[in-house]
């Protein structure tokens, strides 16, 4: 039996991926989700906290040709915490088209733009924003609420060697082509 579910929109989702709240996740098409990926769509949104029917709004939106590698996690950003009740209210997360998320990476950003390449073992902390055409190098920790401008190469850990450098504009085409080829090759 195949370990993958292939949809008519070209999405390829591993049966070993843990997707909670699938009715609150929008996947645009041609996306690949590898085994061990955890997508937490079943969180409570702060904007809908007062609604009678809070569990209907979209929490996670994935653009076309998104490629999510093994054991990575996508968690909508925490907006409010209630410590005595141990309850959290989240905001929605939007991940743009042609975005690649590497193995063992954790994404808690508010927004990730189009054509973003996140290498392995990265952590994008709560409410960080990554604009279009960015390259996040292996092992990077982007601190909470940090804004990464477009065409940036980010590396290092905050407080140690965190750096944001300018990225050549040719990466716009390169990351898009990389995402398309990965969708075909599945590696």
């Amino acid at each position: 039996m195949s370990e993958w579910i292939e949809t008519s929109a070209g999405n390829r989702i591993s049966k070993l991926a843990e997707i909670s709240g699938p009715d609150r996740i929008i996947i645009s098409g041609n996306a690949t989700i590898h085994p061990g990926v955890k997508i937490h769509g079943d969180v409570e949104l702060l904007a809908n906290a007062s609604n009678k029917n809070p569990d209907t709004a979209t929490t996670i939106q994935l653009g076309k040709f998104c490629y999510i590698r093994s054991n990575s996690q996508i968690i909508p950003p925490v907006l409010k915490e209630s410590k005595p009740e141990n309850k959290t209210w989240h905001g929605p997360i939007s991940i743009g088209a042609y975005t690649i998320i590497g193995n063992n990476s954790i994404v808690k950003s508010a927004n990730i733009g189009n054509r973003v390449l996140i290498e392995d073992d990265c952590v994008l902390e709560n409410l960080s924003i990554v604009y279009d055409c960015c390259l996040i190098r292996r092992g990077t920790v982007i601190p909470p609420k940090t804004v990464i401008p477009p065409y940036s190469e980010v590396s290092g850990v905050a407080g140690k060697d965190f750096s944001v450098r300018s990225l050549n504009n040719s990466y716009k085409k390169l990351i898009e082509l990389e995402a398309k080829e990965l969708q075909i090759l599945g590696i």
Partner: protein
């Protein structure tokens, strides 16, 4: 297949005097990945950032998105501050005390906090932080003020030349010496011993040793928030011919817009090189090992390619250095790359890079292997190569020979892994692409360059 992690490392010489056709002219600190290079349509050559001049087009704060192009400051003058410990944007909260207001800066990542005093008059946050820093300076600011004041004192001191030692006066004169005077008076070690000893003593100067600035005081964490640096957009010109290589579109209302008015990127005009996956990284002595090297054409016209490599690699191309000889053979030195006409991404992937992971890739692999078996092969050369719509795969043979004569280098340990860099001189000829017709004064696209492909983690065995 990866367009980002490929083997296109281009040598971009900054010196015009060296004979670039010789492999010995390659300098490793001037090798750049294809993805970061520009392409000059006038010079018809790849250009690194060192071969370009820059012009600032716009500045903006990536946090508040305010435009600062007209400002001379390199920092956001709005209310954007970063943590001095970890460079994270600080959260600012305001407290009303009746008589005035105070501000609290808190880092969401580390325990850093800064509480301002009560301000009775309206002031910008910058002015508040600047005032508090002046009133209650931390060690960093104290040191800065000390250096600043001592430098201004020195400036006055140099006006009275009677107190200057002879050697100091000579050093000051040297600074104002004209270029032709320096040429007339060539540098000799014997005549400049005093100056050399000055530089040597400077490196031992205790003031420059960070630990000894305040030996009796422990390290103090910075106390004040730092202003947020701006993000800038640059245009680039070729230093050799002044052709514009990159001009970003500037929109003050939407500073994060990522469009360009002019862009000449090397990936759009130069072929991409990529080795087929290498499973076993061991080279047997005196045995030829064939590796497959893929060439991918980015142009919409055919590309005539010639390729050459030095038959014996110089020792500087093998790291760590070893006593053995590495030979490189190219059975195919001339071929024509097809044009990129199809928008189907699958057609642009070489057969050696296809996988069995997805149904689409598996089906394409089976189709291509079947077609290759039934295709008519009129020449022996066709058995060696694979080709597709805009790609060509050639074999490259690498052989390691034992060198028993060279005694100066130590014997190799079989567990040592080597990085071999193979320089390939590639010449490219093609019709001029439409995008270059308006800017280039040449009729054809024709250029040559060194591409250094890397084989990493290779073991020698035998």
């Amino acid at each position: 297949m990866s367009k980002i992690y490929n083997d296109s490392n281009i040598f971009c010489p900054t010196s015009t005097t060296a004979n670039i056709h010789e492999a010995s002219s390659i300098e490793f600190n001037q090798i750049y990945h294809l993805s970061i290079l520009h392409y000059c349509p006038t010079c018809q050559a790849p250009k690194s950032s060192e071969q370009c001049s820059f012009n600032l087009e716009s500045k903006f704060c990536s946090n508040c998105l305010a435009d600062h192009t007209d400002s001379r400051s390199g920092y956001c003058t709005k209310n954007c501050f970063i943590c001095p410990r970890c460079n994270v944007i600080l959260t600012i909260t305001i407290s009303d005390h009746g008589s005035g207001k105070s501000f609290k800066f808190r880092c969401p990542y580390c325990p850093f906090q800064f509480q301002s005093g009560i301000n009775e008059k309206p002031k910008s946050l910058h002015a508040i932080v600047k005032f508090e820093r002046k009133e209650n300076p931390d060690l960093h600011y104290q040191l800065f003020r000390t250096i600043q004041s001592s430098l201004s004192e020195r400036k006055d001191y140099y006006h009275d030349k009677s107190d200057l030692s002879e050697r100091m006066e000579k050093t000051l004169q040297l600074g104002s010496k004209h270029h032709h005077d320096i040429e007339k008076d060539p540098f000799t070690i014997d005549s400049n011993r005093d100056g050399i000893s000055d530089i040597q003593s400077l490196t031992r100067n205790p003031l420059l040793d960070n630990n000894s600035i305040h030996p009796n005081q422990p390290y103090q964490e910075p106390k004040f928030p730092i202003v947020h640096p701006l993000t800038s957009k640059f245009s680039r010109k070729c230093l050799a011919c002044n052709t514009q290589l990159l001009v970003p579109a500037v929109n003050k209302e939407a500073p994060t817009i990522n469009k360009f008015i002019i862009k000449f990127n090397a990936i759009e005009y130069m072929p991409t090189l990529k080795f087929a996956p290498i499973e076993d990284l061991t080279l047997q002595f005196d045995n030829q090992r064939q590796l497959l090297l893929n060439f991918i054409n980015p142009l919409s016209s055919k590309m005539a390619v010639t390729i050459a490599a030095p038959p014996i690699l110089s020792s500087r191309f093998v790291k760590p250095s070893c006593r053995h000889i590495v030979n490189v053979t190219l059975p195919v030195s001339k071929f024509v790359l097809g044009a990129l006409t199809s928008k189907n991404v699958m057609n642009g992937i070489p057969t050696s890079l296809l996988t069995s992971e997805t149904a689409a890739s598996r089906a394409e692999l089976v189709r291509r292997v079947g077609e290759a078996q039934y295709a008519e092969q009129t020449e022996d050369l066709q058995k060696l190569v694979q080709k597709g719509s805009n790609w060509y795969t050639i074999p490259i043979s690498v052989c390691v020979e034992k060198n028993t004569q060279e005694e100066s280098l130590p014997l190799e340990d079989s567990s040592v892994t080597y990085d071999i860099q193979i320089p390939l001189y590639i010449t490219v000829g093609s019709d001029l692409p439409d995008s270059l017709k308006s800017v280039s004064n040449r009729e054809r696209l024709s250029f040559g360059y060194w591409n250094v492909v890397k084989l990493e983690g290779i073991k020698f065995h035998g």
